[in-house]
Amino acid sequence: MIKKVLVANRGEIAVRIMRSCREMGIQTVAVYSDADRKAMHVLYADEAYHIGPSPSLESYLNRNKIIEVAKKSGADAIHPGYGFLSENAGFSKRCQQKGIKFIGPSPYAITNMGDKITARKTMMEAGVPVVPGTPGEISSESEAIKSIKEIGLPVMIKASAGGGGKGMRLVKNQRDIKSSLRAARSEARSAFGDDSVFIEKYIESPHHIEFQILADQHGNVIHLFERECSVQRRHQKIIEEAPSPILTPEKRAEMGEYAVAAAKAVNYEGAGTIEFIVDKDLNYYFLEMNTRLQVEHPITERVVGVDLVKEQINIANGLPLTYTQDELRQSGHAIECRVYAEDPDNNFMPAPGKVTHIDIPYGVGVRVDGYIYEGFEIPLYYDPLIAKLIVWGRNRQEAIERIRRAIKEFKINGVKNNLKFLERITLADDFVKGNYTTHFIEENMDFLMEEKPCGETCDDMVIITTFIEYLDKMEKASPKEMTALKNNWKDYNRVRNILKL
């Protein structure tokens, strides 16, 4: 049984993993870069090892160093969290070779799902619906043009080795086919050294809906229902919810079965996510599989009542799943907001800095996963996600009302953040109606950037408060000049009477 886990990550997810480890009586080992000496995961862990300079490449992505620390500390297992080395087949393999359990799937499953074309083929063979498109990569232009005509416009050209929007082109008009194709291929060549592409039908007004799965080492696979992740800005999720406001019980059951089939097709082990793209008529297509824990896993935990990190460790221990599909159901509604250190008024630019004050919301139905504290300086080297606010409600309406209340209670001073932007999302009509696609943010940007006035009295109070703070600060600097202003309350009536004259 695993007795000590090295968490090869930082930020909220490292702390979140350590929490479950501590509950299970498992020792935790933190690794940290120069920038993270005071980070919460270092403070939270039983042991902490410095692994290099601040840039991720030299620390959190330094595979040799991390495995060396695992050996030195006597850790039985490594939990990679999300990002960093979590979907690195080579790392998973190295762990295996060194006799350290990688908490996640086998190198085989990671490789298979990491390459988009291989994943697509595997899914087609397993009978899982995929977006209509070329069965594999295409390296000649003429073949590409032929495929596009077969699929029908609009289509998306995607680099086979791609990611992050690079080597991707949307083609809507006949006349753009050739130029788009050339641009995509040249971009792919310079970015990845490989200009092969594949072509998919472009789904207009899509929803991004994903299914959580768990698979043990004995071939048992279950799904834990879906998460709706369509509130995105530049492919970055901002708010997720479970259940999806658009799925029907029938579609949910079907998609869940396909998610299980997808996991089985690659002999999956551990926690994973099958992402689907869903159109307005609820046609759904396999998009990709994430072979790790997702940022948004807490909404599933809340609605289904499962601690996914504990299940991951349980599976890594070789134990059979402790739930059967029949036992699981979605109860109530959960919403997650991602709180980023970014400045919505300045192009959503990340805004690292020192947290001078923080109030975390709590009370009924509220969960927060975070890692910042008063006095902590958010480093500029890593993801600007500083906290996840998760609420549960009896139904979707209560969850929305609750997350608005919780956002209002959340205060972070010292670093710019997107809390007001998040609040605006929860007030947007399309969001309230559950009637939104991945274009939601774009389409509602004007509303989302609007500021609701606080009212005239409120303005007055703000002016007076600032003024008094200023007076007090000035008085501290030069006490004598200002003292006359104070302690003249007794003159109050006189002053009033004079004013009335």
Binding site: N347, N413, I464, T466, I468, Y470, D491
Partner: protein, 174 residues
């Protein structure tokens, strides 16, 4: 002695008439306010006025004169105006758009895509460059219409904080 305080476009005249413990009497634009005013913690105040409860948080932006102010609903920029600030404001107006016409990286990052070349005409609001930092992408737009005077970076390049990226020469306004 009254002060001027600027909140958005409003410039208000404020004077502290009297103060005892947490009771304040303040004149604001000729109107009198009796407040119950307490400091809850550094930069955080509770104000009760006519039994309404306001929570106001002040975050100094620069020195003691400029604050970012949060209420439950809104964020304001508030500034105390005295002789010095008036002088600075007039000087800044003279320099006008300085800085606005140079797009800079606020923090270290990477250029995802430059959409313009030297000599291109751009409209106000047109996206000029996308920068990725801390794993997030940010789109930078031209503040006003103009012509691209210089492009100092290319796709994929790593950039430092405050490094100039693109220079725009704004069109003269009639």
């Amino acid at each position: 002695m009254p002060f001027e305080v600027k909140l958005n476009d409003r410039i208000a005249k404020v004077e502290l008439l009297s103060r005892q413990d947490n009771k304040l009497l303040v004149a604001l634009d000729g109107k009198e306010f009796e407040l119950d005013f307490v400091k809850v913690s550094e930069g955080s105040y509770s104000v009760i006025y006519q039994n309404r409860s306001f929570n106001i948080e002040l975050i100094p932006v620069s020195g003691v004169k400029k604050y970012l102010v949060n209420t439950l609903k809104t964020t304001y920029e508030v500034e105390i105006i005295d002789a010095e600030s008036k002088y600075l404001a007039s000087r800044n107006k003279a320099l006008d758009d300085d800085g606005d016409n140079v797009i800079k990286a606020p923090i270290p990052g990477k250029v995802v895509k430059v959409f313009v070349e030297k000599g291109d005409k751009v409209e106000a609001g047109q996206t000029v460059i996308i920068i990725s930092a801390m794993k997030m992408e940010s789109e930078f737009k031209a503040k006003k219409a103009g012509t691209i005077a210089d492009v100092k970076v290319s796709d994929g390049q790593t950039v430092e904080a405050r490094q100039p990226l693109v220079v725009i020469e704004f069109d003269k306004q009639e």
